[in-house]
Amino acid sequence: MIIRKKPLRHWIGRFFLHALLMSVGLIFLFPFVWSLSTSLKPMNDLFRTTPSLIPSEFKWGNYQEVFDSVPFMRFYVNTIFVTIARTIGGVFIASLAGFAFAQLRFPGRDLVFFILLAGLMVPDQVLIVPRYILMREFGWLDSYQGLIIPLLFSAFGVFLLRQFFLGIPRDFQEAATLEGASPLRVYWDIYLPLARPAMSAFGFLTLLWSWNEFLWALTITNSNDMRVLSVGIALFEGQYFTNTAVLLAAANMATFPLLIVFLFFQKQLVEGIALSGLK
């Protein structure tokens, strides 16, 4: 092995690169830091024309005040419940279909798959009014069914998981079928464990999207009992949260759980995003 001394130019280059990355990094972190600091400020700190980063006193009570001003606990529980239901349901439905499209042969298969794919081109906003009407007809306005069920069917997920299942040889499936196992059994016992990386990748994308979803929840819910975090914060801004520190405390608490999830499942989420970019 040859050890070469790196030239001075290399180190100067590195220095400037780090200086650049750190300044950009600081700009990226600043809103988080500012939001955290503001959320802890007492009222009179907020109205200074030269705002300071450090609060004059740390007013943790702002976080308590969020729960006192609006039914924030309810928003939390709703968001968690709806997100879990959409994630589990969405991954399950998409993986069943992805498996069938990739591994089974039946008439009309490619046509149906093509129609699903074409659906990806249509923005949700075109569908929002008719979906709202459907919800009204079903009596699902302002309900968990309304928040969850219409958003369970992801053509993108079917596409992603089908791609993954295509990479698994059909022999597995044929051999198991000859042994007398049903395709559902084969899916559950063989393909599902193999597909875990792709499923968790899609699962985390669904979770991220679902936690933050706004337009649909805003449209079909109208009681405090059914509000999710995103809608709760947007609507109560200015109405109940006259104190910006309290509003930002609410915004921080809405973001916090996802950051925790990310720290634990960083690898899956990053892989999921990388996977969504590969075709």
Binding site: P31, F106, P123, L184, Y187, T219
Partner: protein
């Protein structure tokens, strides 16, 4: 058809069943209904009347629609260009063996995880004309900062800034995956031939990254045309919005004013725009996208 094939067929239909059922109800039926309702004056209160293409001719004369269209493009164009440029730059730097790169990657990625409503709430305060740190900093420099969110020009700058902040990390991850897929050998061979760092970037990295860039470009255009949450929170300062985008205007007409039929016609205009831009991009891809 053998019994085994018939069996397989039945299972196939059974397994795609839930997806197809949901897709039919919430997509195909909804799409058909949307198309038909676009030709009616439907509102939640009275029953619909067929008014032909009146909704669509009204779009042409509607100043607020024109405003929304202009705002949407004023946000989308700089956002798409800067987003691709910044995320590629960051990915290039973080693809080297630089120290702390895992840390930097997390920092640039964190905003992706932040709820857009929370993001908008935070930045609205950052851009606050009197008490926000942006104008506070400008004041230290002796500059009287504008009321950022109150007029369309500066509000566009603010919204694009926030969109970049929250979107660059996502593209960066995908660029990093694309960069990671370029075989090391290419660079080694080029280095032996005496190619400089810049030449390697221009002749190896950029061409081999064009499929990734193309994908991100298509996604960025589609998502920029659909901006909603951010402008809803950031620029809704009283009963009206100072910076209506197309999706905001759909929501406003449909669910604030109750003009469902008209809202649908705006949504179809959006659909046509998205389709047109996507088709143009796919057409143009032959000229610059390099598939190995």
């Amino acid at each position: 058809m053998t019994p085994a094939q018939r069996q397989e067929m039945r299972w196939g239909y059974f397994l795609i069943g839930p997806m197809v059922l949901g897709f039919t109800v919430f997509f195909l039926v909804a799409l058909g209904a949307s198309f038909v309702l676009g030709f009616t004056d439907w509102s939640l209160l009275r029953s619909p009347n067929w008014i032909g293409i009146d909704n669509y001719t009204r779009l042409v004369e509607d100043d607020r629609f024109t405003r929304a269209l202009i705002n949407t493009f004023a946000i989308a164009v700089p956002n798409v260009i800067l987003r691709i440029a910044f995320s590629l730059g960051l990915a290039m730097v973080l693809n080297t063996k630089i120290a702390f790169r895992a840390f930097y990657r997390i920092v640039f990625f964190l905003p992706v995880l932040t709820m857009p409503v929370a993001t908008a709430t935070i930045w609205k305060w950052i851009f606050d004309p009197q008490f926000g740190p942006v104008n506070g900093g400008l004041r230290q420099l002796g500059i009287d900062g504008p009321a950022w969110l109150l007029n369309p020009g500066t509000a566009t700058v603010a919204v694009v800034t926030v969109l970049l902040w929250s979107g660059v990390g996502y593209d960066m991850i995908i660029f990093l995956a694309g960069l990671g897929a370029i075989p090391r050998d290419y660079y080694d061979a080029a280095a032996i031939d005496g190619a400089s760092g810049w030449q390697q970037f221009k002749d190896i990295t950029l061409p081999l990254l064009t499929p990734t860039t193309f994908f991100l470009l298509v996604i960025a255009v589609i998502s920029s045309l659909q901006v909603f949450d951010l402008v809803y929170v950031m620029t809704k300062l009283d009963s009206t919005n100072r910076l209506p985008t197309l999706v905001y205007y759909i929501y406003e007409q449909g669910f604030t004013n109750g003009n469902m039929g008209y809202a649908i016609s705006i949504a179809w205009a959006l659909l046509v725009l998205i389709l047109a831009f996507t088709i143009i991009q796919f057409r143009l891809q032959r000229r610059w996208v390099f598939y190995q």
